[in-house]
Every structure is written in C-alpha cells, then in structure tokens.
Amino acid sequence: MIQAVMFRSLWQYRGFVWGSVLREFNGKYRESLFGAFWAVAGPLTMIVIYTVVFAQLMRPTLPGHESTPFAFSIYLCAGVIAWNLFAEMLGRLNNVFLESGNLIKKANFPRICLPIIVILSAFINFSILLGIYLLFLAIIGHWPGWTILAAIPLLVLQLLFTMGLGVALGTLNVFFRDVGQITGVVLQFWFWLTPIVYTLQALPEGARAVMRFNPLLSLIGAWQTVFLDRDWPDFASLLPLAMLTLLMLWLGAWLFLGRVGELVDEL
C-alpha cells in the first residue's frame, strides 16, 4: 500500500528526477573547457592503462585464451566496469541523504527520488563506459554477438542488489555516520577479494573455497564470461545472489520506509 503510493508519487515527480539527473551530468562538466569530453576521458584512460600496463607489459596469460589478442584487457575491463557501477552506486547511495540534507530540510517531495537520481546517474556513467568498451571490442574483433543480451538480466540483478543494499546503508548512515566510513573500507577489501585483476583459477584451492562466500563472485564472473568467452553465463550460479538481492531489497525498504520520517530531524 505504502509502496503503491510511493511509486505513484515517484511517477508524479519524474520531471524532478529526470531533470536532476541531467543537471548533475551537465553540472559536472559545465565549468570545464572541453565539457562532455571529460565524461569519456576518464573511462578511456582507464581502459588504456589496464590494456597497456597489465595486458601488454606484464602479459599475463589467461588459461584457455592464449590465442585471443588482448584477452587479459577484455577480462580486466569486464570486471572493472561492472565493479565500477557497483562501487559508484553504493558509495553515492551511502551519502545520498546526507548530501541532500539542504534539500530535504526545505522542500517536501518523495524522498525516494533521491536514491533513484543517484542510481540513474551512475547508470549513465556506466553506459558511457560500456559503450567505449563495446567499441574497443568491435575494433579488436572480439564483438560478443547475441550473448550481449545476457547483460540485461545481469544488469537488472546488479542494480536491484546495489539498490537494496545502498538504500539500507544510506538510511543507516544518517543515524550512524560510521556506516559511510565502514563502507569505504569494506569496498576496498571487497574489490581485491573479487577476481577482477586476477583470475579465480590463479588462487590456491583453499582461497577459492572461501571466495565462494563472496556474493559478487558469480556476478562478476558472469560479466567476464559474456565478454571474454562470448558465451551465455551460468544463470544457475546467480541464484544465491538473486535470493540475497530479495533480502537486501526487503532490508532497504524496511529501513527506509520505517525511518524516512525521522531523516530530516537528523540532518
């Protein structure tokens, strides 16, 4: 019931949500001389660095992909791009209510707009990055073909998981400011405990067993499968994450809906 009201009012405020996303995107580069170029420059640099430094200079070989040119860059970028989306969204959702304190205190609007704005603008940044990555794949002749459609369910799953977790953390962060600090630290560890710059196979048996408890392992692995192996990912392996996502969404909704009224008193 409350949810129905929430989504209806969200629809009424679509002008505000969409306007804010655009303003944020424009605002980031408005004062710069090259404008939107910088939106592309960052990700482009990242792909170049990972390709040159890791793939060409260090030349690690991926088992089974010895003959694929740029195999390691493809692997690396697939993981990094997916991780970036997760980390950016989570990091910003964490602070979304604190940063918008001024607005929350002065205007009455459905607060759920704020996380939605953050999610959408993180998604736009991700789309730019993905676009460049796909262009890169097309140029080196490694276009994934129809398997790219697998990205859609992966993306939906990842967005829902991050949204649930992020809204929960963002709400908690208003009441316990330590949450934001902890999240930053945890994200660092999480990145290095996920096979992104290394492969799962490179790990010893024991470490691999522990790694199974990392909920993002299967998701990042699926992204890598889609782009490197150009194969459909193993959707069954994503089931635990899907269950966890439901739990996170429930947790996020429970915390947010229960505390939204108190938010403004703490800002």
Binding site: Q12, G19, S20, K105, G261
Partner: protein, 415 residues
C-alpha cells in the same frame, strides 16, 4: 481549497545520553532517548482566503511548525490537514544548489513543486522578470548575494498562484524595493483567495497583511487573535527579561489596551486638547492638537524618556518619536513627583480611527528598561471638516496645477 487544519501538533526531538545509546536502542528496542519538546499541543485552523501571521521570539518553534505544516518534518503527535496546492518559502532559498545556475535552480525548484519542464519554460520569462537579477540568472548560484537568492526563490515559489502560501521570514532579506514588490504580490494573491501563513518579525507586515496572528512562546500558543492585539502583546513580551507585568484590558473604546512595565513611572492620564484648550475626542483633519500625558513617579529613577506615537486602525505607526531623540531626557526623577508632558502637532491624518501609543523608558528604546508601555492609551476619531475629499492615512495639502494647452506641438518643444 486552501484550508489548513492543525490538530494537537507536537514535535519532540530525540536526545540520546551518549554516542552509543542510539545503537543500543536500535538493537535492543528499549527506549534510551529523552524527548525534547519544541512544540506542544498546537491547534488552529485557517479558513480559505484567510491570512495568518505567526510571531514569536527566536526558538519559539515557528520554523518547526512551518516545516511540519509543509510536510518537510513530521509531527510527533497530532496531525495536519491541508487542502490545495502549497507553495512554501522556508528560510533562505529553496534547497538551491550552489553550483547550478539560477536558471537550473529555477527548474529544480519548480520541478520539486511538481511542475514539468514545459510549464517551467513557459513561466521562465515571468520569473526572470519578477526576480530582476539580470544576467545573473545564468551564473552559478554561489555567486549570488543572499538578497538575490531570495528574489529568485520568491519568484519561483510564487510563479503560479498557490492555494496556500507559506513564507518564513525569507522576505526580510530583500531590499526595500523587493519587499514592496513581494508584499504586493502576496497581497494580490490574498485578494484572489490564496490562504496565507506568514512568519515575520516585521510588525507592519503582520499587521497590514494578516487578519489574525498567533504568538508562539516556548512551543505553545501564547496568544491568538487580532494582529494588533497580538503584536502589542508580543512587543511587551520582548522586554520581559525584566520582572514586569503584562496585562491586556479592553478599554472603553473597545480597543484592546496592552499595558506592561515595571511601573517605576506610570502614565495615569492621556488627554487631547484642541488649539483653544478644550478637551476633544474627535479631531478635525489638519487641526493643531496637544496631547497631555500625566506621569506619576513611583520610585526614584535616574532617567526618564517619554515615547509618543500615533497608530492607525491597523496598528501601524503613522509617526512617533521620543524625548531622547528630541534631547529632552529627564536625568533624574524623585518618587512622588508628577510630570505633565504636552505633545503638540498638526493632526495631518487621514479620516478614521487612530490610537495614541505612549511609553516611559529610561533610554532610547524599551528593551533596556521599560517603566510603562501602553498601546492604545487613547483612541480618537479623525473627521474631515473643511478639506476636499481625500484618501489615505495621512493628510497633505496637495496643490494641483492645470494648464490647458491649445497647441500640442508647443508643449513637445518645451520638453
């Protein structure tokens, strides 16, 4: 449309004894906080088209009340029922973003109020026009002065006439020119049926716009009623850090008379005399009158200043000054002495009912030491006996000069 019902609204902020107390409360579910009440049991109704002013000293709970009414904050107890589209100007700005341009902020502000891009673009020229901030509209908001921000915020919030307009002190930031302009707009909205709720320290603003005023004191409604009566009471309260009695009695003329002070010196009689020395109650426009004020000294004091002024029907001061400014301060007065003050002036007032305000203080204002303060010490009528028909609250002898020009070109040459 445009009604407002506030029922038993109370607001308490949670106060935790220590940093970890909130966590233990969340985990164990046992209450560890104390409730700090900033508003208690506030109930009032505002009918469509009514204009209500809210006054009170800093920290009385005015802003919190407005936040609850606009839905920004939630009441701890009670409820608010609101009918119609609300526009609110809470404090400065409307949650403006400092890095966005004025124009972008206009879009954001209006979108938050539920407007769509197309509608805002249509309203944009009018908003720019009203705010009169020129080229700044395309500059980032951080380069704005506070007055400019307020101009923009006001222009956006009032671009479309709302059913209810809520204004929180914001207007005091503007310069005199913009204050005039914004009050004009507020008045016009009021005439067109917008319900107004205004927080202000500006006595004139409250008295000239509102039909009713509510005085908040320490989170409760201390007084509610006619703006003039409430403002007089509020004014008397301002000096309340001295031990003094504030009382209101209905005077013979049916005006509420506010009487307060420490009574070391006291006004006992106020009489109006005409030029021939006769006591009068009705004053002809432009007549030379003398107001005689009798003051009795109850205790030895080291300074006495008489303040005197004439207020119009709405309680706005038409003119007034005190003997400090006229350099006639009495340096010392002994117990039992009686002073007669005579104030003479031409009653250059408009037709209607006026009241005499007088106060006995030690220095130039009543905040330091207030012996006796009386609003509506005397009410008198001004009638037009020998002047041409005129309007307004003041009389001025206006001379018109009219020349008939037969040759239109001749006058154009003159320019």
């Amino acid at each position: 449309m445009g009604y407002l019902r506030v029922r038993n609204v109370g607001k308490a902020y949670k106060r935790y004894p220590g940093k970890w107390a909130r966590l233990t409360e969340w985990v164990t579910g046992r209450e560890r906080h104390e409730k700090h009440w900033v508003l208690r049991d506030i109930s009032f109704e505002v009918a469509p088209g009514e204009a209500v002013g809210i006054v009170g000293i800093n920290g009385a709970g005015k802003s919190t009340l407005l936040k609850i009414i606009t839905g920004t904050a939630q009441p701890t107890t009670g409820s608010v029922e609101i009918g119609g589209r609300v526009a609110a100007l809470l404090e400065l700005g409307m949650g403006f973003h400092p890095d966005f341009t004025g124009r972008q902020n206009v879009y954001m502000g209006a979108q938050i109020n539920g407007l769509f891009t197309g509608q805002i673009s249509e309203l944009m020229p009018e908003i720019e026009d009203f705010a009169e901030i020129g080229d700044y509209i395309d500059q980032p908001l951080r380069t704005y002065s506070s007055g400019m921000q307020m101009r923009l915020a006001f222009s956006v919030a009032t671009a479309i006439r709302p059913d209810i307009l809520i204004v929180d002190e914001a207007l005091s930031v503007g310069d005199a020119y913009f204050q005039h302009k914004s009050f004009d707009r507020i008045r016009r909205f009021g005439e067109q049926g917008t319900t107004l709720l205004i927080v202000s320290h500006d006595k004139n603003a409250i008295q000239s716009i509102c039909n009713r005023a509510i005085l908040l004191k320490a989170g409760v409604i201390a007084k509610e009623g006619e703006p003039e009566e409430v403002m007089d009471y509020y004014n008397a309260l301002l000096a309340a850090h001295q031990s003094q009695i504030v009382q209101q009695t209905i005077s013979v003329e049916q005006k509420v008379k506010t009487d307060s002070g420490t009574y070391e010196a006291q006004v006992t009689k106020v009489k109006i005399f005409d030029a021939k020395g006769q006591i009068i109650e009705v004053v002809p426009v432009g007549a030379w009158v003398t107001v005689q004020i009798t003051v009795i000294i109850n205790r030895d004091i080291d300074g006495l200043v008489l303040g005197f002024g004439i207020k119009d029907r709405l309680g706005q001061m038409v003119f007034g000054t005190n003997t400090f400014h006229t350099k006639q301060r009495i340096e010392e007065a002994k117990r039992g002495e009686i002073y007669l003050f005579g104030v003479s002036f031409y009653a250059n007032l408009g037709v209607g009912s006026f009241s005499i305000h007088c106060s006995l203080v030690r220095n130039e204002s009543h905040v330091e030491k207030n012996y006796h303060w009386i609003d509506c010490a005397k009410v008198f009528e001004v009638v037009n006996v020998d002047k041409p028909l005129f309007v307004g609250c003041a009389w001025n002898d206006m001379q018109f000069k009219i020349k008939r020009v037969s040759d239109a070109r001749a006058i154009m040459m003159e320019d």
